[in-house]
């Protein structure tokens, strides 16, 4: 079965590229002397997780409790749930820990720290906690040099056990090029290590010092003082990562298989059955040097065509033009022509699909990998 034989639109993973990406990142972590704790939120897929991880038990990172539950039931035991915890999510964490999951949670404020401590006391459970560090003003976390860091640590008591610090250089997504990413990586490292050292100086054990984002993981030059790095989108890569310089177009393992359903001859536009429902609404390249619209158009062989992008998208329609706005020679793309679209953001595009079709050696469809979605089961 080849890409000519399956329905469109279909999310396609090129397993050869995916496996190469995973192998490279394992090698990178090993060369830096840190553990690799891949983020499984990109794929939400067991087959992908097993290739990303350095062992079938982990370590791994997740972004929802459902990911923790699903992956734990598949044998993954060493998990960090890397989104700030709230009291309402603690019963779910407790259930996993009681079943044998080495689940670690994160928080960045005294209210959450007190809440976890009170929960652990009331329920008689031990929950390892990492304090989230804000290394670049991106989003959440306490500053490594703040008084708040020690206050938060001071609110952890009893079963709420300080297990380390964690940061995510989210602003590295704004970088362009190796030097910028390497600087972001060094800052991420330095902030995590500073936080760990301040906590240690105050008498706390800080076994885990966790950093990570794909741009910093790709370009980090040293990670002294760090114990592990986290990253996820490196496994598939995407146009945003290519725009940053963290990968080349040839490293992008995810694409959308679409079919030409019509044209607007006067406008020189091709219309395909790949709309935003299949590509996602992500427009991450809009703020980069090269705006790829809703995605870069390739032939069915996955090789980019001459400057064609999905310039706009409706729910089930993708409109293809040249990036320069000029008309496409539509005679080259009759109704029924199959194309592949490289996505802006692999995490977002993947989330639109219940499964991936897996190709090897170019266009041979060899497997189907399921992915899950949502936040909890009913």
């Amino acid at each position: 079965m080849t890409l000519y034989d399956i329905p469109t639109p279909s999310a396609i993973i090129d397993a050869d590229i995916f496996e190469r990406n995973c192998a490279r990142m394992k090698q990178k972590a090993a060369s830096l002397g840190v553990a690799l704790r891949p983020h499984l939120k990109t794929g939400k897929c067991l087959e992908m997780a097993l290739c990303q991880m350095t062992s079938p038990q982990g370590p791994a990172t997740v972004s929802t409790l459902l990911e923790a539950e699903v992956f734990f039931r598949s044998g993954i035991t060493d998990i960090i749930y890397a989104v700030g915890i709230t009291p309402a999510k603690l019963p779910g964490c407790k259930a996993l820990i009681r079943e044998g999951c080495s689940l670690k949670i994160i928080l960045d404020n005294t209210a959450a720290a007190k809440g976890v401590s009170a929960f652990c006391a009331a329920e008689g459970v031990t929950i390892p906690v990492l304090i989230e560090i804000d290394s670049d003003g991106h989003r959440s976390g306490v500053r490594a040099d703040s008084a708040l860091l020690l206050e938060v640590a001071g609110c952890l008591a009893g079963g709420a056990q300080l297990a380390g610090v964690l940061t995510h250089a989210g602003d590295s997504y704004k970088c362009s090029g190796a030097d910028c990413c390497a600087m972001a990586a060094e800052n991420e490292r330095a902030m995590a290590v500073l936080a760990a050292e301040r906590l240690r100086a105050a008498g706390y054990a800080v076994p885990i010092v966790s950093v990570g984002s794909t741009p910093t993981a790709v370009f980090a030059r040293r990670l002294d003082g760090v114990t592990e790095m986290r990253c996820g989108v490196y496994s598939l890569f995407d146009l945003v990562m290519a725009g940053i310089g963290a990968c080349s177009l040839e490293d992008i393992a995810l694409s959308l298989l679409v079919e030409v359903i019509g044209h607007q001859p006067e406008k020189g536009q091709i219309i395909t059955d790949g709309g935003w429902m299949a590509l996602s609404r992500d427009r991450g390249t809009a703020s980069q040097q090269v705006d790829q619209g809703y995605g870069l158009v390739c032939g069915i062989d996955g090789k980019p065509l001459d400057g064609l992008i999905v310039c706009s998208a409706n729910q089930e329609h993708g409109i293809v033009t040249r990036r320069d706005g000029g008309p496409v020679d539509i005679s080259r793309y009759p109704v029924g022509t199959r194309l592949r679209i490289l996505p802006n953001h692999a995490c977002a595009m993947g989330a639109q699909h219940p499964f991936y079709r897996v190709v090897r050696s170019g266009m041979d469809v060899k497997d189907t990998w399921k992915r899950f979605s949502g936040w909890y089961e009913i």
Copy 2:
């Protein structure tokens, strides 16, 4: 069970509002003397479909073959698959028709028309075909006044039976206010009727004259010559529709229940567990007069708070600020506070969720409605 008792993030449908929206649109269609053929792509949910439709058998509109299959298995028989057909999708259409589905397809070019005719001849099947009309240069379709219209009709032969014309005033989404939408509705009507009349003058029967989009359906003043109208997002409404003036904020039936997970006190920002994975990446209000970010923040009762929006979003984090960029009084929103976010686009937000939690009388969770996703089953 209330909204305090379910996990976050959760997609919430206020059934009282949803049912009112459905009833109003039925009444509107009846008052205009046309059938209502609701689009089921917004919900992808049987409970929603049954409330939207004027009978359990339809009529209905879908955007994918999977929608047609799932809804047909649930008893809906009168279906238009309103995305331009390609040869690869015809076997799926044939299977549904053979099972008794009154499935109609659309196309806008001679290649597709010839393909359907050849398929029908080879397979001995009859497939009703609507010609898609481009009434406003929005996307796909042939112009009502073009020679191409008659050429396409001329390519339909044998089992490929002309059943009518169909248009979608997609550019009505760029309108603001009743007059603009009413003009778009009149143009949509006039173009569909012109196409039908030209086909009739050429000797074709044109039983179906189908128009529709939510803004034009809400504001249409007359639909003479039209047989049916299609619309979907009116059932839930959203911020884009409110920005157009097609509804008020009180008509929006869909929201995202989130919880405060932290703050950035120095920036006056609230961080919630409702990121783009739960809200979608849709930024439809960005091009409107009032940019609502990734969504408008309400209290748990669904009533908008004072000018708070989700200003940015990561996969599982939503960052809340004031629309004017000023700091939020974060002391009013401690960790664990529950909020509801009105979405930019109901179709896009819904697609991020495997099910909806259904509330009545404000905050009482009364039901769970499943929705489906994807394009085909494996």
